[in-house]
């Protein structure tokens, strides 16, 4: 067995390698965003043409806006519903825990296209018969996404919740704090990491979702993955690469900003951020 230092070096090497693996396609996307040729797989020299084409197209811009809106709302709703349910599942004594757990997991087991078709039929019928239900459109896309996202939140938050141990909460009660303030001051902060992780995952999956969205959408609601998919299917224009590059730059800037912020606040800030995401 290699020494501790060597183990660390090996692991670090692997870690960096995997990160490079994660970013290789992104690098390709960025480079080809500057591709002068229309056909994506052939390189023909540098050009900024596609960036301006991307901005001129309101189809892409509105698709992006729609996806962002749905993803953000989805993360919010899924996190609220899912966290509440995770708390109940983790520590309630109710008999309904097991069947309800099974139901939550069932949402992850259904193939996406299946729930997509079934949902579409359901939404059409529901809208016709119960005025309360929205017609097909961004709202039905959102409703569909929440089903699956909240299951993910439940999974993550509950794993953390049950593993967290209740000693601190016991102590809080011992010291006389009531249930609400215990929750607010002890449980919630410790749970926050998992909640944030769940929300991030919910946002990400919603933003990138294709199949469910296509079937629960209406004629004039096109999300970003739908726009990309249609372009990819019949010949990617590098405009799509250009937009992805810009998105990536925005996110990278955000991360750089966070990094700067962390180093300013020192190691404490870093630890709490790390906790937050772990």
């Amino acid at each position: 067995m290699p020494s501790a230092a060597n183990r660390k070096r090996l692991l670090s090497g692997w870690g960096v390698l995997v990160l490079l693996f994660l970013y290789a396609p992104i690098a390709v996307v960025i480079v080809y965003a500057f591709n002068a040729s229309k056909d994506v797989s052939v390189w023909k020299g540098w050009s900024l043409h596609w960036f301006s084409a991307a901005f001129r197209s309101d189809r892409y811009v509105s698709a992006l806006e729609l996806s962002l809106k749905i993803a953000a709302l989805n993360a919010l709703i899924a996190t609220l519903l899912g966290t509440a349910a995770a708390l109940a599942l983790g520590r309630s004594r109710s008999r309904w825990r097991v069947p309800f757990s099974a139901l939550v997991f069932l949402t992850l087991v259904v193939p996406e296209i299946v729930i997509a078709v079934a949902s579409r039929i359901f939404f059409v019928q529901a809208h016709e018969n119960v005025g309360l239900f929205p017609a097909l459109g961004w709202k039905t896309i959102l409703l569909g996404h929440v089903v699956w996202s909240s299951a993910v939140v439940v999974l993550i938050v509950r794993a953390r919740f049950t593993g967290m141990g209740s000693e601190l909460e016991e102590a809080s009660f011992d010291l006389g704090a009531g249930p609400l303030s215990t929750f607010r001051q002890v449980t919630l902060p410790r749970l926050m990491p998992a909640i944030v992780a769940g929300a991030l995952l919910a946002f990400t999956m919603s933003f990138d979702d294709y199949v469910l969205s296509v079937f629960t959408a209406s004629g004039d609601s096109e999300t970003w993955p739908m726009a990309v998919f249609n372009d990819v299917k019949f010949g990617v224009t590098p405009a799509v690469n250009a937009i992805s590059t810009l998105m990536f730059l925005v996110v990278a800037l955000g991360v750089a900003g966070a990094a700067w912020f962390i180093t300013r606040r020192g190691a404490d800030g870093a630890k709490s951020l790390a906790d937050g995401l772990g």
């Binding site: 056909d39 994506v40 797989s41 052939v42 078709v117 579409r120 039929i121 939404f123 059409v124 019928q125 809208h127 016709e128 018969n129 017609a135 097909l136 296509v214 079937f215 209406s218 004629g219 004039d220 096109e222 998919f229 249609n230 372009d231 990819v232 299917k233 019949f234 010949g235 990617v236």
Partner: protein, 412 residues
Amino acid sequence: MSPKSDGELRLLAPAGLKPKIDRLARLSQNAAWRERGVKVSRREAIGLGGLALLIAGCGGSTGGSSGGGGSAKAASARLEGKPLESNLLIYNFSEYLDPKTRASFHKQNPGTTVKETYYSSSDEMEAKIKAGGGDYDIIVPGQNSIAPLGEAGLLYQLDHSLIPNMSNLQPQWKDLDYDKGNKFTVVKNWGYVGFYYRNDLIDATPKTYMEFLEGLPAAAKKGRTNMLEGTTTIIGDTMIALGLDPDSENQADYDKAVKFLQPLAGSIKTLDASTNRADTVSGKIIYGQAWSGDLAQIAAARKDITCVAPDGACERFADNWAIPAQAPHPVAAHAWINYLLDPEIALQEMKYSGYGTANAKTWDLPGAKKYANNPLVNLEQDKINGYKFILSPTPKVLNLRQQAYEKFRATR
């Protein structure tokens, strides 16, 4: 989709009548929508429809889509003279309509905004229309979608008085088998399935589709071969090459096709119908099957590729303009179809997509000359007549073909 038991309308009828009652409800809904712009619930529709039946004094609707004829005529009388609505939503393949055409239509009809959204396969569009909902005004179904959509009452019956330019169509592209009398559709463009090969790498010179298939093993040794992913292009076209009816309901015919294809499976390197044109032009594919529009573009891009419109039997198809039954803006939709039948516009579209137009007047235009001389775009009528439509007239055909396709793919 069974009637909701909401306590307000219960129908006791023999089970066999259920499909008829459903159709009745749907027709009534469509009629109410067309005549009054009113969305009627299924419950109300059954009531209205039932009343109409009682008044008409006969039992059961006549078979097929003629049952809706009465209401359709009344509807057309209603559409004439009506102004165009302010919006038009087109649901189409991407890159299948010149954006300039949308812009010029809008210029001619400034009150109407034209939007387009895309689907990536005809099947996806069909699935969406069948599952209901959606607010498209124009769709672009292939000829094999007309039976499933039309018979289910999902297509709007065209008011020909609003489409005077229909007379511009070549006679051989009017009144086709899959839509007699142009009840639902007008041909947008037609095409066929051909093939191509790199003449510097491949020694053979296949002229028929069968020769193309038989040449696959030899070609696979020299580079990447490709065929178009999909049940019709793989199973359907093979059946045509074998002399079988691609719309057969006989399991044995499909088994023959699968048996023929299985030994060739290893020689078909990829099944790709989306990036195949780009990959061919960039030199990645050296031997492949292609739609005629792509063939024209490949031939223009590379001189070392021979593109072939096959001799003998192969598949032809027609993509059509159609209006969904529940389209919210039918007047604009009709105006759109009429506009696209204008000879100059049809020429513009042919330039954009590379597919042959069905517009007789377009071929007379000077700009069409180079397309007229292109053997890949303008074929002799005899040759076209030898090509077959794949119609998929019943669910059984679709299932048999799908299963055969899956058998083929599973053995790769």
